[in-house]
């Protein structure tokens, strides 16, 4: 094999390995659960491995959540701007926030806190 070919192969391998490392270390973590915070209170933890529909009620309105394929999406909401719906399906932070309804959906790896102060 000519030197030029070896250089190309070396470059390709380097890019491949660099890509793998970047994906492992820099990529967003996939969550297994989503915490539903309503008006600043953690009201529910949703297992993202189970497909389902959830309706979140707050004093300001409602949000319809759909879990499918390991991701959660706000599929409908009473809020006027619809920003939360436009976030689309997610399983990584940043959280999906619906400011008008005061709903925040934060993604977590374990779905559980390490502990609770009581």
């Amino acid at each position: 094999m000519k030197t030029k070919h070896w250089a190309l192969l070396l470059g390709a391998v380097f890019l491949l390995l660099a890509g793998i490392v970047s994906w492992q270390y820099l990529g967003a973590k996939t969550a297994s659960h989503a915490e539903i915070w309503v008006d600043g209170v953690l009201t529910q933890t949703v297992d993202l491995s189970r497909d389902g529909e959830y309706r979140i009620e707050s004093a300001q309105g409602w949000n319809q959540l759909t879990v499918s394929g390991g991701k959660l999406a706000v599929t409908a909401a009473s809020c006027p701007d619809g920003d939360c719906v436009r976030c689309g399906p997610r399983n990584t932070n940043p959280p999906i926030v619906c400011l008008p309804n005061r709903v925040s959906i934060r993604f977590s790896e374990s779905g559980e806190m390490d502990g609770a102060v009581r």
Binding site: T3, V21, Y25, G40, V41, G115, R118
Partner: protein
């Protein structure tokens, strides 16, 4: 050329993929072990990382059971009951706790008082029958209570006849300190939930922060704030929702005001203290609940060795500035430094 490039490729591959031999955070994968026991009238959940032989877990359980046996105010054969009956003890744990309680009490204007056991019993706390006592009955107990009744000297604690001590406001924090010290000595990380007292020790195996929730006083399944803690920290809450009774639409909680000899009545629902020492966090959380928000904030300004969260009846949550960057989720207001 080929002979040069092949080793280079191999070295490059090893360098890049070899990083993944360690999990995130750089620490080796550590085995998790969990145990739950019932001690000090509460459930205690212990989660340790790296205690492969289970030896440290066994030691911690021994410590917790020893303290449970020593510091129980209800057990007939505890060292504390013996003190309350005889008026004197040289038990090392009791002497240490009594001395510490006296210090914190003096620093908080008497808001922490470990001599209120007879008053607490008169209100029915620790029994099946809660009642609002007759004011005359309360006043009759006044000469039995007060931190000035407590004498700590020459490695012994002495109290007059009729005075009784209760370490409920300190015992779990002290237990957490002893457990943390043993875990750190053994190089073990983990998280201890001694009832509602949280003690984190060291670093999680993946290097991430510990995430703890602060319970909603009105709903034990919900949380008002979640905080991330780094390294070894104690987080302890005192509130009106843990043990209480309601009579004539008035809520009477188990935390007593040493001045009135009655359950604390005010706008606070809970105070959570985050500190390096479990004993400090435990004793201060009780004192801060007694003091109320304004006096508690003033104490924080004077000391500066703890952080705190005050939750008021109207839902307002006040946090000290040191926790601002520690809040993972939840609404809050930051108090002025």
């Amino acid at each position: 050329m080929r002979q040069r490039i092949l080793p280079l490729l191999l070295a490059l591959a090893l360098f890049l993929t070899g990083c993944n031999l360690l999990p995130e955070g750089g620490s080796p994968a550590r085995e998790v072990s969990e145990s739950s026991i019932w001690a000090m009238d509460t459930q205690m959940d212990l989660r340790l990382y790296g205690d492969t032989e289970g030896a440290v877990m066994a030691e911690l359980i021994t410590v917790l059971n020893r303290l449970d046996k020593t510091l129980s105010a209800t057990s007939a054969d505890s060292a504390l009951t013996a003190l309350n009956e005889s008026g004197r003890t040289e038990d090392a744990d009791i002497v240490y706790l009594a001395a510490n309680a006296r210090t914190v009490s003096a620093q908080t204007g008497g808001a922490l008082d470990i001599t209120l056991l007879p008053v607490s019993r008169l209100w029915g706390f620790g029994t099946d029958s809660h009642t609002v006592p007759d004011p005359a009955e309360l006043e009759a107990l006044r000469d039995k209570v007060g931190m000035d009744k407590l004498s700590v000297s020459d490695g012994a604690v002495s109290i007059p006849t009729g005075t009784m001590l209760d370490f409920g406001a300190l015992a779990k924090g002290y237990a957490a300190d002893l457990c943390r010290a043993r875990m750190e000595e053994a190089g073990i990380s983990g998280i201890l939930a001694l009832g509602g007292n949280i003690q984190t020790v060291g670093t999680k195996p993946d290097g991430s922060d510990w995430i703890i929730g602060i319970q909603d006083p009105d709903n034990t399944g919900r949380y008002l704030l979640s905080l991330k803690l780094t390294g070894s920290k104690a987080a302890v809450a005192s509130g009106d929702y843990q043990r209480f009774f309601i009579q004539d639409d008035v809520r009477y909680c188990h935390i007593l005001d040493p001045e009135t000899l009655s359950p604390v009545q005010g706008s606070l629902r809970s105070v959570t203290v985050v500190a390096d020492q479990g004993l400090l966090a435990d004793s201060l959380s009780t004192a801060l609940f007694v003091l109320g928000r304004e006096a508690g904030i003033e104490l924080w300004r004077q000391r500066g060795d703890f952080e705190a969260v005050w939750i008021e009846a109207d839902g307002t949550r006040w946090i000290t500035p040191g926790l601002k960057d520690r809040v993972v989720e939840g609404y809050y207001q930051v108090i002025e430094p």
